[in-house]
Symmetry: C2
Subunit: 583 residues, 2 copies
């Protein structure tokens, strides 16, 4: 078959630095090597990326991703709109999402990675606004444009110099911390959205919004719980899991328009403006040449921080979109995609739209929506006698419809949303629903987080824990130390996000990687880390693009992820709820 031939070909031209000597070992000197291999490895699959898309899953995936991508994007834009002097509005957000979807679905090496507007770029944009208005508010658009230009330059340098390779050192230690941080920020944003209702529209709107947000959260949460239960037929559960957001959003948007007390309450809706025009009275091209030279260079460190943020955020979302639990066959391409991200960053700067990048909580949802799950029956014989074997459902991911059409169609749908009639539909959506979106995505990221899982393990009564649970082999105080290290990182990031120093948080997050590589092994034995930690990049197809598996200093034989593989053995792989980073 052609595919197996391609597989062999891909593995023969392996991208590695392992057996090289002299200057050839130095990544920054081997310009374009990663990008070249990425394209060479991935290009032969391009036609199959279109051909493989002819299944129902592509449609389900397109609809689900449209909601999961656009709802948080709009949610963040509501926040960003208020806090950047109404510079970034809905049109900018939709344009940015559409641009990213078009470029990455057509040209990306990893079309599974959904790119769009994240909470962190919103945080970045309004923090820079807070800084700039202290000097000259008028230069904000140009300053953001130069920030993007510098960021794009740094992106291209990173891509060309093969620096994405270091992403292979990312383990669950830092990516769980990042997940918890993102989840907490989401929940804080949800509360801020509700507080805004109180201050802008008064108590009635505030309380009604609280009610809608809570009930929206409960609706989606219950539908997704039902979708992953053993109630009803598998096809029906599948429908619930695929369309939970669609059902919940349509219902609660409709609810807010029921005539009577609900309709007559003045709550806030998505603010829209003239279709295809920027929110502010300006052209789509930012006049970047009008900025003073001193401000151009003042933008340089901001650009570097944006690159740092995207380096971690975008690549981690690519990693989780291609995580081990998905049986992926097509190879990854981190260097090429990071180069493309530089291009979209550049274009975003030029047009004055928020810079898109990989969506951390939502990235694995796309792959999940394309995965064919089968709930298998696992019979565990017991010693209680005949006919009383235990029946346990094990969810198996049997295949993934790896293609780029769903990503492309989702982009088309976003472009459709930019037109006048659909903007009117968008305007009917109350801000309260978006507060609910924040809660459900944020809580999903916290609930499934390894930090919380380990905390629950510590809290559980020892006698009810299965004896073959790997965590039992680690001392309790060591587990506590491990999650404390993570928690301190999270707390530091959350704290800094609430100040004007918020733009510095990527440094904190990135610092967790060398901390894990050099400091953590001094406090934990290799056996303990094998259980507590796991490589975030652990798919062979993924590691091929990152120069092979990582080698940690002083580490002998490594068997990472014992805890995760134990859990998978017992319960099967988890369906990916929007927002849950791991499992």
């Amino acid at each position: 078959m052609a595919e197996s031939h391609l597989n062999r070909q891909a593995s023969s031209i392996s991208y590695t630095y392992d057996n090289l000597t002299g200057w050839r070992r130095l990544r920054p000197l081997r310009l374009f090597r990663g990008m070249y291999h990425d394209v060479r490895r991935r290009l032969p699959y391009y036609w199959s990326d279109i051909r493989d898309a002819l299944t129902y899953r592509t449609i389900a995936s397109t609809i689900r991703m449209y909601f999961v991508n656009i709802l948080p994007a709009i949610a963040y834009t509501l926040d960003m709109y208020r806090r950047t002097g109404e510079f970034y509005g809905i049109n900018e957000a939709l344009f940015s999402s559409a641009l990213a979807a078009m470029i990455f679905s057509l040209l990306g090496a990893q079309p599974l990675t959904i790119v769009g507007i994240t909470g962190l770029i919103s945080l970045f944009n309004y923090t820079i606004y807070d800084i700039v208005i202290q000097y000259r508010p008028a230069i904000y658009p140009n300053f953001m444009c130069w920030t993007a230009i510098w960021a794009a330059v740094f992106h291209w340098i990173v891509a060309v110099c093969n620096l994405c390779d270091y992403m292979r050192y990312v383990t669950d230690f830092s990516s769980e911390s990042f997940g918890a941080y993102v989840g907490i920020i989401y929940c804080i944003k949800g509360v801020e959205e509700l507080v805004n209702e109180f201050t802008e529209h008064g108590s009635t709107a505030g309380f009604m919004s609280c009610m809608i947000a809570i009930l929206y959260f409960l609706t989606i949460y219950s539908l997704e719980m039902l979708g992953s239960s053993t109630i009803c037929r598998p096809w029906f559960r599948g429908l619930l899991a695929d369309y939970a957001y669609v059902i919940g959003t349509i219902f609660w948007v409709g609810f807010s328009h029921i005539p009577g007390n609900l309709k007559s309450t003045q709550i806030s809706f998505v603010p829209t403006s003239r279709a295809f025009y920027p929110t502010q009275p300006r052209g789509w091209l930012i006049h970047f040449w009008e900025l003073d030279m001193k401000w151009v260079f003042a933008a340089l460190p901001f650009g570097f921080l944006v690159m740092l943020l995207f380096y971690y955020d975008h690549n981690v979302s690519s990693l989780t979109a291609q995580a081990r639990q998905f049986p992926l066959k097509k190879p990854a391409g981190f260097h090429w995609d990071f180069f493309l991200l530089g291009c979209t960053t550049f274009l975003a700067g030029m047009t004055g739209i928020p810079m898109p990048n990989g969506l951390v909580p939502q990235a694995p949802v796309h792959t999940d929506s394309l995965t064919i799950y089968e709930t298998e029956l696992c019979l565990v014989g017991t010693e209680e006698g005949e006919g009383v074997e235990l029946r346990r459902p094990i969810v198996k991911a049997t295949a993934v419809v790896e293609q780029r059409v769903s990503h492309f169609l989702m982009g088309l749908a976003i472009i459709g949303t930019m037109t006048g009639p659909l903007l009117i539909v968008l305007h009917t959506m109350p801000a309260a629903v978006f507060a609910g979106v924040f809660f459900i995505v944020g809580w999903g990221s916290i609930e499934s987080n390894g930090m919380l899982q380990k905390t629950i393990f510590l809290l559980r009564e020892n006698r009810f824990i299965q004896r073959d649970e790997p965590l039992l082999r680690v001392k309790r105080r060591k587990i506590l130390l491990y999650i404390s290290c993570q928690a301190i990182g999270v707390a530091a990031c959350v704290a800094i996000s609430q100040t004007i120093a918020a733009i510095g948080f990527p440094i904190l997050i990135i610092a967790l990687i060398p901390f894990r590589v050099w400091t953590i092994p001094k406090w934990f034995s290799q056996e303990e880390l094998d259980i507590l930690d796991d490589l975030t990049a652990n798919n062979t197809a993924v590691l091929a693009s990152l120069g092979g598996p990582p080698r940690f200093p002083n580490a002998k034989e490594q068997h990472y992820g014992l805890e995760r593989s134990y859990s998978e053995h017992r319960r099967g792989s988890y369906r990916q709820r929007a927002g849950s980073i791991h499992r």
Copy 2:
């Protein structure tokens, strides 16, 4: 030991009609026989009822029951107050609860059965109000008094003629239906309470009340879920289970008084009036002699219906308070207690307070709060190899602190609440919290209901059901037929409750008993009924007071409750959440 001597003595003077002949077999001719045996059986335990109370459980039980009794009582009174022209207020409700607690804790044969104000008597009172005001509104107090007098007379007749014996024919078929009906009525009341906020105090109060009610529900629900999990130490879980209502109520009452948007919103609070005085300007004695003779006799059928309601409601709550899962040692006394209930009904009528009776959803909570649970570890060896046996928590009820002191102390606490200072505290409680109480108690009754459990069984994917599940031996359409019969009964009761014919619903509920005895066996085989149904009265100590186990017509050997005993074998007994009737 004295106790075992008493046990032997109790069994030797067994109350039965089985081996008697001629007129001696006819219950109504053997006046006072049941009451005599009840007292003779129970009286020797009186001293131990006080002596046994010297444990911590008595304190925990007193506090828990105070909240579980008084919160729904006040909740119903809010409803009754509005719908009876403000005749029944908080003072009447507290007086009635205190009176019942004093009489039944001091004189009752079954001090575990908590007696108080139920939703059904509230429904009765306002339906009679709706009927009476069509003729002469002024006679309502006197008419209610005569209704109570007639009801009391019927109570005494039933008790003296040993008619409570027929309660032994009550099976889960009718008591589950009743539980579902009560649960639905509770939830409807909760919604009505919130709707009232909208109409009386406007949208802001309405939405804030909705928010508080939902969050109150979620708080109690989560605390009780946590209390029955394997998280944390057993003593801590015990605290959560004991004080979930206390924690939740104090928190959300405090929440509603936080200065700012919450405090400034005009929501409604518990309406209180001068301590120890009736709500209306009247004396505590109803001038019943001032009623026209035609109205006196018009009250007779209403009194009969009250008796029918209490016959079912009070006795079922005694049955569930002494259900099989509780390892009770002291004998029951249905006839004596029903006689006492006639007395309280009479006193309630004379003083113009709501007639108290056994609280169906809360009755088993009292016994539960007195039960010493131990979560045991059940090891199930598997064929997977060594060290991987399954560890399952099994909750065992090891003993019940059977005494009458907690009931008495709870009564004292209610009398304390009637004083001025505590009435002021009561006045700080928003009505929204009571809507939450309705939801949590109502949902508890629905969630644990056998009807819902069987529906979930039918919906579950067959291959994940354990093979030894008894329900698998019944044809699916038979299960469907069974729950349909129950559902029709529930639907009829709920429907009639919304009309002026509401007072007729006890007839419907009682009719389910003969329907179960004569019609159901024609549609189901004995084997099917053994699995689907279970005796509600199944404790030997209970059946002793009802003249021994029931004998259904045409039934051979009976093994009721296979499904329940299967579930208990696998999972242990459930802790009784407020509102869950069965398990």
